[in-house]
């Protein structure tokens, strides 16, 4: 437990960490970080408690970077700085810790963000789950960005950047006994570059952005409708799902629209730019991006799904527990 008390042991643990994340701000080794950014900034904070910590296509470290970077991106900001908190459970192999830290470093580099301050605590065995991460991000708002659920308008189109459900299934598939024929990899990815390209070109005509993490695409649609006070309709047939993800969901009785993603987002844009925005998304690394639906005045506050066989089904916010309703 000695690592947590701030003494020599802690020093020993953290020394290489400083080295790993080395940058001028961090190298100051002050109690906090002093940085300068443009006039308007976005701040977000998030905790990461995924189990297992390593999974196909990623690990908790990448997730901690992407999650925070993406939350900044969804505000219409260019991510600049991260503050990182680590809570380690006693007994975590140093090799695992190192793997996670390297992964954080790599992801941060890929996203061009600097980790400028941090904190580490060690908790007794049984009081944590190997490793918990917490990251706070600061980003510079794009001057044209005006992203808010209140800006969603009737007539707007809803864009999605790629096939859904892979992350949640990848996590499930490394749980005991639940593996599928072909390995499904997490879709964890940074989204800020595509978002900034959209903002660069279309500015305020991008009305709303939201990454579809826990609760999946369906939950984001339901929230967007509720917060924006408009009616949303999406078409099941237009929402891309990779074949392996689809059949895994079928086997597990899950609806891919409610499965978590870590690299998927929805953009609600003015109808006149929908096609161009789609082309831009496809060029920016999302070849399977699609226009999945529209915003209307009907049924305000509700998101509905047009099923493949016709007829509409409301997309409720994911209930806490999935209990069968069918009699």
């Amino acid at each position: 437990l000695g690592h947590g008390s701030g003494g020599v042991l802690m020093q020993r643990l953290l020394e290489p960490v400083f080295g790993l994340f080395s940058n001028p701000v961090l190298d100051e080794r002050h109690d906090g970080a002093v940085v300068s950014v443009g006039s308007r900034i976005a701040i977000t904070t998030d905790s990461f408690v995924v189990s297992p910590i390593f999974f196909p296509g990623g690990d908790i470290g990448r997730l901690a970077v992407h999650g925070t970077v993406n939350d900044l991106a969804m505000c219409g900001a260019r991510p600049r700085y991260l503050a990182l908190g680590l809570i380690l459970e006693e007994g975590l192999p140093v090799g695992d810790l190192w793997r996670v830290l390297c992964s954080i470093r790599q992801a941060a580099d890929e996203c061009s963000v600097a980790i400028v301050t941090g904190d580490t605590k060690v908790v007794e065995r049984g009081k944590g789950d190997r490793i918990f991460l917490h990251s706070t991000g600061v980003g510079e708002l794009h001057p044209e960005a005006a992203v808010s659920a209140r800006r969603i308008e009737a007539g707007d189109r809803i864009l999605l950047n790629g096939p859904v459900g892979a992350h949640g299934i990848a996590i499930l598939s490394v749980r005991e006994g639940v593996s599928f024929e072909s390995a499904i990899k997490s879709d964890s990815a940074p989204l800020h570059r595509s978002v900034l390209r959209l903002l660069e070109r279309f500015g305020g005509r991008v009305h709303f952005l939201r990454d579809a993490t826990r609760g999946g695409v369906a939950t984001v649609l339901a929230e967007a409708a509720q917060q924006g006070g408009k009616g949303i309709e999406v078409e099941e047939a237009q929402i891309p799902v990779e074949e392996e993800v689809g059949s895994a969901c079928e086997i597990l009785g899950l609806d891919p629209l409610y499965v978590a993603n870590e690299g998927r987002f929805l953009a609600v844009v003015a109808s006149e730019i929908a096609e161009e925005a789609l082309a831009e998304l496809r060029r920016s690394g999302w070849p399977k991006a699609a226009v999945i639906g529209t915003v209307g005045e009907e049924h305000p506050g509700k998101a509905l799904l047009w099923s493949r066989i016709g007829g509409r089904r409301p997309l409720p916010l994911l209930p806490g527990e999935q209990l069968p309703r069918i009699c």
């Binding site: 005991e176 006994g177 639940v178 593996s179 599928f180 024929e181 086997i251 597990l252 009785g253 049924h299 509700k302 509905l304 066989i309 016709g310 007829g311 509409r312 089904r313 409301p314 409720p316 209930p319 999935q322 209990l323 069968p324 309703r325 069918i326 009699c327």
Partner: protein, 777 residues
């Protein structure tokens, strides 16, 4: 001689509007030589009569005894009134004053007088598809407001021609004060449209052309009383298959519409009580045993089934169409899967334009959407079992044996599937037609629309709102929303308790001094302990309902998926049975096997006591259904093969002596263990015992358990409810085994399935607030 003149003020309430009540009162008063008036109000019929005392007394007696047979008086009041100056007896303008308490009348089929006029070439209504009189025609489906008068129905856009108006004013005429009165000159127009909505023909030529198209194998949508039906020639296999393909309905049996009883008798065997139900004024679909030989129907009408769902026309339009055809037609509700029946031309063209070849429509609007009602009979004792209580019944419910406090105003929101709403209002009960499975937005919209229609009609302001315990039911959510709006608290009623409450009220068992056991076997419903219930035993004793036993909790692998896939129930029940390993595993892909075993080993599944899922599991194990396309498909398959064997053996009496599978009758800790039943079914299967034998023994085991538990808890009355008791063989076996020793109660006016949940919730709330009173008849 007391020839003294007096006056009386009378108020009658109940089924007194839309039944020819004012004309009846008018004639009665005139015959008795009385003066005064009769008027419809929101709370029923008001009458003022003046004349000789003796004549007044005779009038009063006749009023209550000789009223039209379809009328029903639930409340009557007479008091002395001051003498007035009326010089004759008149029908007065309806009054909009007072509280709306009148019962809403269901739709009535064509009466015999109107039918013969329609077939009389010299009558001015010859071949007129909308002929009605005070004794027949649409009611609830066209009512927009109360009191019941033409201007508050969808007949409002059709002013009467002089000839119709004369009938309307003529006390001697059958159409005196008939609100739906019309004729070919002034009335509703029938049109034939193409699948894009363009008009092809009108009037009689439209009927001829529609019939011609059906005869040629086309799919024609017909505007019925409560919505459109899709019709095809039932004898044309290609047409039937085409309808299945276009409607994406692979196996669920289609209902059939026949012209008359004689033609029904050629295809099906109907017992006398079944024939009576076919002819009833509600004109429900009756599930009849199909004749083995001589049938001319296409096999695709009801694949696999030993039964046929058959009805007679409930309105003149389908009747006239059938007159033009050589045989029966398939008549299935026109809707998208899981959505309400379509009721406007716009909807049918937009949603089913690709399914239909033509549309036989008309320009009278449908205000309330209603499906056809469905009834089946238990195979041996011929108990009617209502599977759907809709057109012809809704929204009327007349309680027998109990009364509601007029002060109590309860809104009960019902279940999620087969949803209905129930209202307790001014001492009356209104029970809506089934509003479908609330998965689809369209069903939810129809649910909301129906609820607000009923509220507006009755100026209903609830003081209590009852909902299911399940937070995810769309009906529960809607109830919470309304409660929030009106500042009320919701009362949660557990699903299976609601089933039992419904039975206790229907049979006036609430005040029973002896205990009553409620055996509630169902699909799934959320239980009070978080498990999924559905195999429950409740004891009603001294005004309290206690859960005394339940079936053991078993894996409900993958939740809702298990409900669509009985193979998962089979796997969940028998996965550890070595002898069945191969049989079970061939139902699963290798990856499914691996994953499902892992989930079972980890205990990662909801737990359920559902008897519905037990039926599913046995049905799948016997190879009857691994995946189902409609609710109850697997259980029905199991009942079917068991019933075949039971009949071959000579009926329920003949199987009484057979050995049931072991089910503990004195459950330890209130849990009915299934180990013995599972082990013996597995053993039978491995030994090659035929499926029919296993299916029958399974039914017998459940029937035997019921009585043993009743006697075990020391009571003599048992009420059977929940979706499982749509199974007529099970009902009859229970009666055969226990009927002499135990009183068995099943749903009578209501359905055993979730349609009755709202009624049960309403009863629970009313009982809780002390608003129910027993009445002895």
């Amino acid at each position: 001689m007391s020839s003294e003149i007096a006056a009386r003020q009378i108020h009658l309430d109940g089924k007194v509007q839309g039944v020819g009540f004012r004309p009846f009162v008018y004639r009665l008063a005139r015959e008795a030589g009385l003066v005064g008036w009769v008027s419809n109000g929101l709370d029923g019929v008001h009458i003022r009569v003046q004349g000789e005392r003796e004549a007044l007394d005779r009038f009063w007696e006749a009023l209550l005894r000789k009223h039209p047979p379809i009328a029903a008086v639930t409340h009557s009041e007479i008091r002395e009134a001051p003498l007035g100056t009326d010089s004759s007896f008149v029908v007065r303008e309806s009054s909009q004053e007072g509280k709306a308490t009148v019962l809403l009348l269901p739709d009535l089929d064509l009466c015999e007088s109107c039918r013969s006029e329609m077939h009389d070439s010299k009558n001015r209504r010859f071949q007129y598809p909308f002929t009605t009189c005070t004794d027949c025609g649409p009611r609830y489906s066209i009512i927009r407001g109360l009191p019941y008068d033409r201007e508050r129905t969808t007949m409002e856009p059709f002013p009467m021609c002089p000839e119709c108006a004369r009938e309307y004013r003529d006390p001697a005429d059958r159409r005196f004060y008939s609100q739906t009165n019309s004729c070919p000159t002034c009335g509703v127009r029938v049109d034939l449209l193409d699948s894009g909505g363009a008009r092809l023909a009108s009037g009689i030529p439209a009927l001829d052309e529609a019939a011609g198209r059906i005869a040629r194998g086309e799919i024609v949508a017909l505007k019925g009383v409560g919505g459109y039906l899709l019709l095809v020639d039932a004898a044309n296999p290609r047409a039937v298959e085409e309808l299945r393909r276009r409607k994406r309905r692979p196996t669920k049996p289609f209902a059939l519409l026949f012209a008359d009883l004689e033609s029904i008798r050629r295809e099906a065997r109907a017992a006398p009580e079944e024939e009576r139900w076919l002819l009833r004024r509600e004109k429900p679909i009756v599930i009849l045993d199909r004749r083995e030989a001589g049938g001319s129907l296409a096999p695709g009408v009801a694949p696999e089934e030993d039964t046929l769902g058959i009805m007679l026309p409930s309105a003149p339009l389908p009747s006239l169409l059938l007159d033009r055809l050589a045989g029966p037609v398939v008549a299935t509700s026109a809707n998208l899967s899981d959505s309400p029946i379509l009721a406007t031309e716009r909807e049918i063209v937009a949603s089913l334009g690709h399914v239909v070849d033509a549309v036989l429509s008309h320009n009278r609007e449908i205000e309330s959407r209603l499906d056809d009602s469905v009834v089946r009979f238990s195979p041996f004792f011929r108990h009617p079992i209502l599977l759907r209580r809709a057109r012809g019944f809704a929204p009327l419910y007349l309680s027998e044996g109990f009364e509601l406090d007029p002060e109590v105003a309860i809104l009960a929101m019902g279940a999620h599937q087969k949803s209905t709403v129930a209202l307790a209002h001014q001492g009356k009960i209104y029970l809506s037609q089934p509003l479908g499975d609330l998965e689809s937005w369209e069903s939810q919209e129809n649910f909301r629309a129906t609820l607000s229609h009923l509220r507006r009609l009755l100026s209903f302001v609830p003081k209590r709102i009852a909902v299911d315990l399940h937070p995810g039911y769309a009906s529960t959510e809607a109830g919470r929303g309304l409660a929030g709006e009106w500042g009320l608290r919701v009362e949660k009623v557990q699903h299976h308790r609601a089933h039992f409450w419904s039975l206790l009220a229907e049979h006036s068992l609430l005040w029973e001094r002896e205990p009553v056991l409620g055996v509630i076997w169902d699909g799934t419903g959320l239980g009070e302990d978080g498990a999924i219930w559905g195999g429950e035993f409740f004891l009603w004793r001294e005004g309290r309902m206690e859960r005394v036993a339940h079936f053991d909790y078993l894996p409900l692998l993958l939740g809702e998926k298990a409900i669509r896939e009985p193979r998962l129930s089979a796997f969940g029940l028998w996965h550890s049975s070595e002898g069945l390993r191969e049989r079970l595993e061939e139902k699963l892909l290798p990856v499914e096997r691996r994953i499902y075993r892992a989930l079972l080993a980890r205990g990662d599944f909801p737990r359920s006591s559902s008897v519905g899922r037990l039926f599913d599991g046995v049905a799948s194990l016997l190879g009857l259904a691994d995946r189902v396309s409609f609710e109850g498909e697997a259980a029905r398959g199991l009942e079917r093969i068991a019933l075949r064997l039971c009949r071959a053996l000579g009926g329920v009496g003949a199987v009484r002596g057979r050995e049931p599978y072991p089910l503990p009758s004195f459950p330890s800790g209130g849990v009915v263990g299934l180990d013995g039943l599972r082990a013996e079914i597995a053993r039978d299967l491995v030994c090659g015992v035929p499926s029919e034998e296993i299916a029958l023994r399974f039914h017998l085991s459940l029937a035997s358990l019921v009585g043993r538990i009743v006697e075990g808890v020391g009571c003599r009355r048992v009420a059977l409810g929940g979706g499982v008791f749509q199974n007529g063989l099970l009902v009859d076996l229970i009666e055969a085994l226990w009927g002499e020793r135990i009183s068995v109660y099943i749903a009578r006016e209501l359905s055993p399935n979730d349609e009755s949940i709202s009624f049960g919730q309403m009863v629970a709330s009313a009982w809780g607030s002390g608003s129910l009173r027993r009445v002895r008849s």
